[in-house]
C-alpha cells in the first residue's frame, strides 16, 4: 500500500468497508465531520451481513452531497439527474426484477424536486430500498432551504429563518404506502446497520431516514458547532420509540429526534398487483412477469 498508515506488525489488514468502495476515488469530497460517510459504513456492513450477491445489487443516487454515494460505491451504480433516482430505479427494478435496488440520496433530491416520484413509488409499493440522508438543507449547492428545514433555522435562502411547514418524512412514507419505515441519526450506527439489513430483506418499498450533520452549512450557519457536536446532540436528544405513530414524529428545530422502526407491514408490490390483475383478466394464457428465458411468464 502506498498510502501512509500506522501499520506496524503482522499481515496487512483491510478496512471492512474498503471492498465496497471505489478506492481510486478516495479521499472523498465530503467535509470534515459530515455524516454521509458514516452511513456508508453502515450500508457496507449491512450488505456483508445480508450475504447478498453483489452482482445483483444496484445503487442509484440523484445529485447532491449524498448523491455522491453511488459514485463512490463499488457496486453497479447509477448517478441520475437531480430528483430522478426513484424514477430511474423504478425502471431498473421493473426491467430486471431480480435486482436488489437501493436508492441513496439527500432530502432535497428525494423529497423536494423528487418528491413526486417518492410518493408514487411508495403508493405503488415498488420493491426497492430508499435511504434518505436528511441534513435539513441542500448541502451541495451552498445550503439552501429544503422541504425539511425546520423553523427557524437559517439557510442561504432563509436568512431570517425558515418558516415553511416541513415534511415529516416517516409520516409521508407511511401514509403513501411504504411497508418499512425507520428513522435513525448518524450517531446510531448499529441501529442504522440493522435497519438497512431489514430493509434489504423486505419485499416492497422500505424507507430509512437518517438525520446527519452538515457542519459546513447547517451547523455553522446556525451556530450549532461542528460535526462532533451534532453527533453529541443526536446522542443526547434522540428518543427511541419503535412502533410510534408516524404522525407524532415530526422534527422541530433542535428538538428531540424520535427514532426507531415505525412501520413494518405486508402489502402487495406493484409487480404482484400487475400479475394478479393480468391473470384475472387474461386467464390461463397469462404467464406472470418476469418472463424468463426458460419460457416462464408472458402471454402464451
Amino acid at each position: 500500500m502506498s498510502e501512509q498508515t500506522n501499520h506496524t506488525e503482522g499481515e496487512p489488514r483491510v478496512n471492512p468497508v474498503l471492498p465496497y468502495l471505489r478506492e481510486d476515488r478516495m479521499p472523498h469530497i465530503w467535509c470534515p465531520g459530515c455524516g454521509i460517510g458514516t452511513t456508508v459504513n453502515c450500508f457496507a456492513r449491512a450488505l456483508t451481513e445480508s450475504e447478498l450477491d453483489l452482482d445483483k445489487v444496484s445503487i442509484v443516487s440523484g445529485i447532491g452531497c449524498t448523491g455522491r454515494v453511488a459514485g463512490y460505491m463499488n457496486l453497479d451504480a447509477f448517478h441520475t439527474t437531480h430528483g430522478r433516482p426513484v424514477a430511474f430505479a423504478t425502471g431498473l427494478k421493473l426491467a430486471n426484477p431480480d435486482l436488489k435496488v437501493v436508492v441513496y440520496s439527500g432530502d432535497g433530491d428525494l423529497m423536494a424536486i423528487g418528491g413526486n416520484h417518492f410518493i408514487h413509488a411508495c403508493r405503488r409499493n415498488i420493491d426497492m430500498t430508499i435511504v434518505c440522508v436528511n441534513n435539513f438543507l441542500y448541502g451541495m449547492t451552498g445550503g439552501q432551504a429544503s422541504s425539511t428545514t425546520p423553523d427557524p433555522a437559517t439557510t442561504t435562502t432563509a436568512p431570517y429563518g425558515a418558516f415553511e411547514h416541513t415534511f415529516n418524512l416517516p409520516f409521508l412514507a407511511d401514509s403513501c404506502g411504504a411497508v418499512y419505515v425507520a428513522r435513525w441519526t448518524t450517531y446510531h450506527v448499529r441501529q442504522i446497520t440493522k435497519a438497512m439489513k431489514e430493509a434489504l430483506a423486505k419485499k416492497g418499498l422500505s424507507f430509512i431516514e437518517i438525520i446527519s450533520p452538515c457542519p459546513t452549512l447547517y451547523q455553522r450557519r446556525n451556530k450549532l458547532g461542528d460535526g462532533l457536536q451534532a453527533m453529541e446532540y443526536y446522542r443526547d436528544n434522540s428518543v427511541v420509540k419503535s412502533g410510534a405513530d408516524t404522525r407524532e414524529v415530526e422534527i422541530k428545530y433542535q428538538g428531540e429526534i424520535i427514532c426507531g422502526k415505525f412501520v413494518d407491514r405486508e402489502r402487495a408490490t406493484w409487480l404482484d398487483c400487475y400479475n394478479t390483475r393480468n391473470a384475472a383478466a387474461i386467464g390461463a394464457r397469462y404467464r406472470p412477469y418476469p418472463w424468463r428465458e426458460n419460457g416462464e411468464g408472458g402471454v402464451k
Binding site: 498510502e3 501512509q4 498508515t5 500506522n6 501499520h7 489488514r13 478496512n15 471492512p16 468497508v17 474498503l18 468502495l21 478516495m26 479521499p27 472523498h28 465530503w30 467535509c31 470534515p32 465531520g33 459530515c34 455524516g35 454521509i36 460517510g37 458514516t38 456508508v40 459504513n41 453502515c42 456492513r45 450517531y187 450506527v189 448499529r190 446497520t193 461542528d226 460535526g227 462532533l228 453527533m231 453529541e232
Partner: protein, 95 residues
C-alpha cells in the same frame, strides 16, 4: 471531554489494535469520542492537510471492536482483534 474519556478506560480482556490511514483523516473526532473504551486520542502531530489523526492512548484499552471504523466518515480508521490480553487480570472486571 477528556475526563469522560479517561473514565471509560480499563484494561481489556481481549487485545485489539487500530490501523489509521493518516492522510485520509479529517480530524472530526468521532472515533475518539465514540470509542466505547476511550482508547483513542487525537495526536498532537498533523497530517499533510493539517488535521490531527487519532492514535491509541494505550493498546491495553482497545478490544478491537471496530466501532471507530463504523463511525469514521472518512474510512480512515478501523479496529481489529489481536488475541487475549496477557495484561488483563480477572479482578479488573470488578472495576
Amino acid at each position: 471531554m477528556s475526563e469522560a474519556l479517561a473514565k471509560k478506560r480499563k484494561i481489556q480482556k481481549y487485545l485489539g489494535n487500530v490501523e489509521v490511514k493518516i492522510e485520509h483523516c479529517k480530524g472530526c473526532g468521532f472515533c475518539v469520542e465514540f470509542c466505547p473504551t476511550g482508547a483513542l486520542e487525537l495526536s498532537k502531530s498533523f497530517n499533510k492537510k493539517g488535521y490531527h489523526p487519532p492514535m491509541l492512548v494505550d493498546q491495553n484499552y482497545c478490544n478491537g471492536c471496530d466501532l471507530c471504523g463504523l463511525y469514521c466518515p472518512d474510512f480512515a480508521i478501523f479496529g481489529f482483534r489481536v488475541g487475549p490480553n496477557p495484561n488483563f487480570k480477572k479482578d479488573e472486571k470488578a472495576k
